[in-house]
């Protein structure tokens, strides 16, 4: 049916690109989530007025297109900070901050969903603020926030395609390289899309599994 020039080596090349997509996404989602929890908790604790400067910075990361953030971030780190770091590191830094800005909002929503009285009940038993956060608020907030967080992680995975602008060859860039050489754009994009699906599917299913398990509580 098809007649393609795609070789096994090309597929391995694409798989390497997919590997890079997974690595950049995993690092950014992990760091971005940790920062997002920190920023989200700070926002809730400080209240809207005291947290306004942080909210403003996070709003910038949420509203400026990622492509621009990557180019400007790369220029800032290289020219202003005079740091010689790889495009991979720049990509992870920018994508982590971008993720954290969205995650902070998800965390804030999750924390707000925990009834004030439930928190008072916890404190009234003598639990400290930290224990209340750890044993009551964050587990409950996680249940509320999970669907949005899964959406964020999948979104970051797809957005990570933009890190090619800082010379990181991830899945989409690898595909483009092959398209230039083989001139079979539709077929190659189909394979590329299949790779993205294979990466996303387990995460989406895992989220569904957790939601189902927690709904039994």
């Amino acid at each position: 049916m098809f007649d393609t020039a795609l070789t096994v080596n090309d597929l391995i090349f694409l798989a390497r690109g997919a590997g890079m997509t997974i690595i950049v996404t995993a690092i950014s989602v992990v760091i971005g989530t940790l920062l997002g929890i920190l920023f989200g908790v700070i926002r809730v604790q400080l209240g809207p007025i005291l947290a306004a400067p942080l909210t403003f910075v996070l709003d910038i990361f949420r509203s400026v297109p990622l492509l621009i953030q990557l180019v400007l971030g790369n220029a800032f780190i290289g020219m202003v900070l005079q740091l010689q770091i790889s495009g991979f590191t720049v990509a992870c830094i920018v994508l982590s901050l971008y993720t954290s800005a969205y995650c902070a909002e998800i965390v804030r929503g999750g924390i707000d969903a925990v009834p004030e009285i439930t928190r008072r009940a916890a404190r009234s038993l003598g639990l400290t603020w930290g224990q209340d956060m750890r044993y009551i608020v964050l587990p409950l907030a996680t249940r509320v926030a999970l669907p949005s967080w899964i959406g964020l992680a999948l979104g970051v995975m797809k957005d990570s395609a933009l890190v090619y602008v800082v010379q990181v060859t991830e899945l989409l860039k690898s595909t483009q390289i092959l398209i230039t050489r083989l001139q079979e754009p539709l077929f190659l994009l189909l394979i590329c899309g299949a790779f993205y699906f294979i990466i996303s599917f387990p995460l989406a299913r895992f989220g569904g599994y957790l939601e189902k398990r927690w709904s039994n509580d």
């Binding site: 009285i117 009940a121 009234s124 003598g126 639990l127 224990q131 039994n216 509580d217």
Partner: protein, 240 residues
């Protein structure tokens, strides 16, 4: 002993407690009645330091609750509180709800905490629900679990904030029975309630709050049979 001395508390412009004085002795059961917005519930949350006060003093066994030097987390172990609703930690089983504070606050080993929790849960009639999640309990069972959870910290005082108000009428009885049992066992209790029958049967004294003021306090027979304050009379006539 709980001593409340000239306590004032405002939320913004609204003064909800206008100089409350009340002393509750060990072993005493005081019920607090009054219309909504009279400051009853606010008083309870002030007693265990969940709410700050604007002036006055609250002393628990001589320790000033709102003093800067007071370790509130430590003080709260002496004073259990149960709210109207949303008491349960929904992600934890009944047993875990009750063992959490003994384990994390008192540093008790898991097995010891479980032993105490089981005892308290049996005491309130939930011995067969240990591994159940709160969402599978009725409202009355959830309230009894919250009582067991507070009791597991071996408090010297218990505060109950309209614990039956959010329940379906047929579930009120089982929770009141639990409170009665505690009162008979000699627990020092302050109960904010709308259940006049309960207030009459169980209390040593009944306090009537009206618009942030402790309008009248006395033995149940006196308050219910021969109320002195015109607002008390009006209130009792309305709820009867």
């Amino acid at each position: 002993m709980i001593e409340i001395q000239n306590v004032r508390k405002s939320f913004g412009e609204l003064e909800v407690l206008k100089g409350i004085d009340l002393t509750v002795q060990r072993g005493e059961v005081v019920t607090v009645i009054g219309g909504s917005g009279s400051g009853k519930s606010t008083l309870l949350t002030c007693i265990n330091g969940l709410e700050a006060i604007d002036s006055g003093k609250i002393l628990i066994d001589g320790i000033e609750v709102h003093a800067r030097s007071t370790d509130l987390n430590k003080l709260r172990r002496k004073v259990g509180i149960v709210f109207q609703q949303w008491n349960a930690f929904p992600h934890l089983t009944v047993l875990e709800n009750v063992t959490l504070a003994p384990r994390k606050v008192l540093g008790m080993p898991r097995a010891d905490a479980a032993k105490i929790a089981e005892k308290q849960l049996r005491h309130v009639g939930l011995g067969d629900k240990l591994t159940t999640y709160p969402s599978r309990l009725s409202g009355g069972q959830q309230q009894r679990m919250a009582i067991a959870r507070a009791l597991a910290m071996s408090p010297d005082y218990m505060l109950f904030d309209e614990v039956t108000s959010a329940l379906d009428p047929q579930l009120v009885g089982e929770v009141l029975e639990t409170l009665k049992m505690l009162a008979e066992e000699g627990m020092t209790m302050i109960c904010v309630t709308h259940e006049m029958g309960f207030a009459r049967d169980v209390s040593d004294r009944v306090a009537f709050f009206h618009q942030g003021i402790l309008a009248e306090i006395g033995a149940p027979d006196q308050i219910f049979v021969d109320p002195q304050h015109p607002e008390t009379r009006k209130f009792l006539a309305a709820v009867r």
